[in-house]
């Protein structure tokens, strides 16, 4: 009886690890990670999807490897070790894309190698993969990766439809009604800002904290402690309440 319960609870635990990353702890809207790429390539759906899949692959693979090596990588070398593993997978993805889809390779441009420093991947390595068994680490990677794709695609849906009047390159809205703003960088900031406000509103209704660069956010980003130290220095000096 107990072993059956054990298996059941393990399964639900695993499921939870996966589901978390999708909405509740969505890396973009809740943990505020990977902002650079989400703003940059989210002007088109094809760009978002390609980037999302690339990130998913790197995230899952690096989570797996880092989890496998978690007992061997000691504390002092963990950041360089994570970076090496992640950079390895990113380079592999780069080469595969360059070989088999020059279009997507050109579309992602410099943001492809920048996946290496995408806080989502480094954050999950530090915050989860190095403390959990391989299976869980893989599920976490899958969940966060799909959550990232969901976020990116929703941002791109709005930006491409309103900015270019198309979806996946298929024209839908006639040119007179295109709102150029959304295809520009400024539009990226604005759309993500509004969507984050919406996500905060929903979070508030569900009794959850707002997304922000707080202690529990940054999802395990290795430099979160430094960030916090700097910010609290500011606050102590000002003696005022944080606007966040």
């Amino acid at each position: 009886m107990t072993s059956k319960d054990n298996i059941k609870s393990k399964k639900s635990e695993a499921l939870d690890v996966f589901r978390r990353g999708l909405i509740r702890e969505n890396p973009v809207f809740r943990l505020v990670l990977g902002m650079c790429s989400s703003l940059a390539v989210s002007s088109t759906l094809i760009g978002s999807l390609s980037m999302g899949i690339a990130v998913l692959i790197v995230l899952v693979m690096s989570n797996i490897i880092i989890s496998l090596l978690r007992n061997v990588i000691s504390d002092s070398i963990r950041i360089p070790a994570y970076i090496t593993v992640i950079a390895g997978f990113v380079s592999v993805v780069e080469m595969l894309l360059q070989a088999f889809s020059t279009e997507i390779y050109d579309l992602l441009g410099i943001y492809l190698p920048l996946i290496v420093v995408n806080c989502i991947i480094l954050g999950r390595a530090e915050g989860f993969a190095n403390k959990n068994p391989v299976g869980m680490a893989a599920l976490d990677g899958l969940g966060m990766g799909f959550g990232y794709i969901i976020a990116m695609v929703s941002i791109a849906f709005i930006r491409e439809l309103l900015g270019f009047g198309s979806l996946f390159g298929i024209p839908i809205i006639p040119e007179e009604y295109h709102i150029l703003l959304f295809s520009m960088p400024a539009g990226g900031f604005i759309v993500v800002g509004i969507m984050m406000a919406v996500s905060n509103k929903i979070a508030e209704k569900l009794g959850k904290p707002k997304a922000g660069l707080k202690e529990d956010a940054c999802g395990g980003c290795p430099v979160a402690a430094h960030c916090q130290a700097l910010r609290s220095n500011d606050l102590l000096a000002e003696g005022s309440e944080e606007a966040n």
């Binding site: 090596l69 061997v72 990588i73 000691s74 002092s76 070398i77 360089p80 070790a81 090496t84 593993v85 950079a87 390895g88 380079s91 592999v92 080469m95 595969l96 360059q98 070989a99 088999f100 020059t102």
Partner: protein, 186 residues
Amino acid sequence: MSQQNKQLVFPVIILMVICFVTALALAFTNELTKEPIATAIAEQELIAMQEALPDATKFETVTEHEMEFVKGLDETDEIVGYIFQNSHAGYGGDITVNLGVDTDGIITGVTPLELNETPGIGMQVGEPEFLEKFVGKQDNISLVTSDPAENEIEGIAGATVSVEAFIKSVNDGLDDYKEIDLNNDE
């Protein structure tokens, strides 16, 4: 002491092993993808050449008269034209242009190969509307702001540097053609 040393040395060794394995994996992937990448790049070049010289079916890279260029041939192996590649510094690095001319020196097409200009402005030199303007012209091209005459091209507002670099590359190609023509007549 040796315990301390162990604590210091062991992690570094692990790190080096990880680096080494990663580098090996990358070298392996590189070997795997080298050919497909080269093929993809060659295909792109072929498409660019085809756009520059639409009438040709075969392309032959030759080095004659101390120049490297491409001869475009049709099915009967007759020369239908030439393609010259030249570059000039634009904003985001070099702009490399493939210039296609027929055997009379008239431009059949231009295609940009390397283009890293400002999106929406300088990048417009890569768009069909701009590239078409060159077709049918010969002799050195100059830039004007409006009412282009026979051998003039109307510029793009706000993209002067990119356009000028592009035109310089085209003119270099035309000069190359003149060299060939001169030498062929001898």
